[in-house]
Symmetry: C2
Subunit: 108 residues, 2 copies
């Protein structure tokens, strides 16, 4: 729920890689997600716990396996609520920067 948890979860390259992996194929088990990670299964478990805490991954126990599903809603929320306001003024901000830099160049 907390936006901070989502940002911190996205800060780690391995966690983004896990999301990418689930994005490519949803509902993978822990062992499947470990393939190509070069870290131990326990370390991946910790990463998944952080992703679950941020509500980016939804686990689903099925027998002795735990399937992991991507939940892109928090990512969508970030794009809407936070990144959106920066994009809206992107060109204007770039224009301001350019103008300020040029003004400074004139003064020096």
């Amino acid at each position: 729920m907390s936006m901070d948890a989502v940002f911190r979860a996205l800060a780690d390259p391995i966690r983004r890689q896990l999301l990418d992996s689930l994005h490519a194929r949803n509902g993978q088990t822990l062992h499947e997600l470990c393939v190509g990670c070069d870290i131990t299964r326990q370390a991946v478990t910790k990463h998944l716990a952080i992703l679950e805490a941020a509500n980016l991954v939804v686990p689903l126990k099925q027998g002795r396996e735990k399937l992991h599903y991507l939940n892109a809603v928090p990512i969508y929320d970030i794009a809407e609520r936070w990144i959106g306001k920066y994009e809206r003024h992107r060109l204007q901000a770039l224009g301001d920067l350019k103008r300020d830099l040029e003004r400074n160049a004139d003064e020096s």
Copy 2:
């Protein structure tokens, strides 16, 4: 330049607050950015260094003052290159999740 630096820079709430502050008023000095931060000026300097390394903030020395300008381009890039691909399949992924959960409910 590196997307990882941008993600890690955005992971800290104080750094996001600094970006918000610059978004509200561009070109602030270090001391101006310290207002309402509850940490020392030196700590803010470190945060700004991380934001500069991620190219999210562009500094501009002017006399004894250092003005800080927001650069929203890396944020735009993240939205385009990374978040975009998740949003594109957002509704589909949600549908998949719902279907999988319902299938599991039927089986249990």
